[in-house]
Amino acid sequence: MAHDTAHAMHPPTATGLDTRKLAIWTFIGSECLFFATLISNYLVYKGKSLVGPLPHETSQCLLHGQMTTCEPIFEIPLVTFGTAVLLFSSFFVVLALNGAQRGNRKQLIGWLSATVVCGLFFIGMQVYEFRHFYHKGLGYTTNLFGSSFYTLTGFHGTHVTIGVIWLATVLVLAIRGKIPAEKSLNLEIAALYWHFVDVVWIVIFPVVYLMR
């Protein structure tokens, strides 16, 4: 019933659709093209690096001014765990939205908090990974792999950070009781952005970490 009320509160528009939802979908559409350019960039330069460190192969790399043998740089178990956390955060945010639409404040706050924690974990995982790679000799300008990898995953991480800030803002509003059922669209729009960040990672994870 609260859900029906939420939709009945939408202002009349020429399309019969809420303009805020139309705007976020248009934005998400444009973001698809943005990430497509970054993924193309990564794929085009894949396997073109002249020196290491490399993702899956042992290579010769320049470390502390000396050429040395570098081990493959990726740590698949850590990234797999981060991927699972991000996937489950999408599940948590739909449960939070479900709570918001039914006017269940406890469900909204609980699941939204879990989503924010998952997002923070993912950012932490990425910061750890970047630091770890840097200490293993992979800087932004070390080779083509480093440049394209940091650009792609860095932009995704920035999007995750923006998503966490957005969801945390909605969480604070929910704690203050400012997200009643009729305002659940505020969370739905933030959740759409969060799901988009998730689907981008669904593509990045196999393309960058698993494909040969």
Partner: protein, 115 residues
């Protein structure tokens, strides 16, 4: 007009369905990593079958996961087709762009193998 709004946007799925989707996504991610591990260990069972097909397996699993999140978590299955259009049309352009660039660079590499 409110009635028109109501016809475009339908009730979202129940939490039980969301849980099923989450579990399927989790299993698919595990399958992706399993395929990767099998492909890189020469003694692993099914290695000879999985290794040459690894990229295709990953693309199929990734596309299925993408579709599940878009349909059920982003509610494209229930919401207006306008939203689906706004999402799918750029996705098609993106897929064409990635394919075109890969083909172009592969062609250039064929013409200038040492470049």
């Amino acid at each position: 007009m409110d009635a028109q709004v109501a016809t475009h946007e339908h009730a979202h799925p129940k939490p039980a369905l969301y849980l099923k989707v989450a579990l399927i996504l989790f299993v698919m991610t595990a399958l992706e990593v399993l395929a990767f591990e099998v492909s890189r260990r020469s003694g692993a069972p099914l290695h000879d079958l999985v290794q040459p097909l690894l990229n295709q397996i990953l693309i199929i699993l990734s596309a299925a996961k993408f579709a599940l999140v878009a349909m059920f978590y982003m509610h494209l299955k229930q919401d207006s087709k306008v939203f689906s259009g706004l999402f799918v049309f750029p996705l098609i352009i993106a897929a064409v762009m990635i394919s075109a660039l890969l083909l172009l660079f592969a062609y250039l590499r064929m013409l200038h193998p040492t470049a």
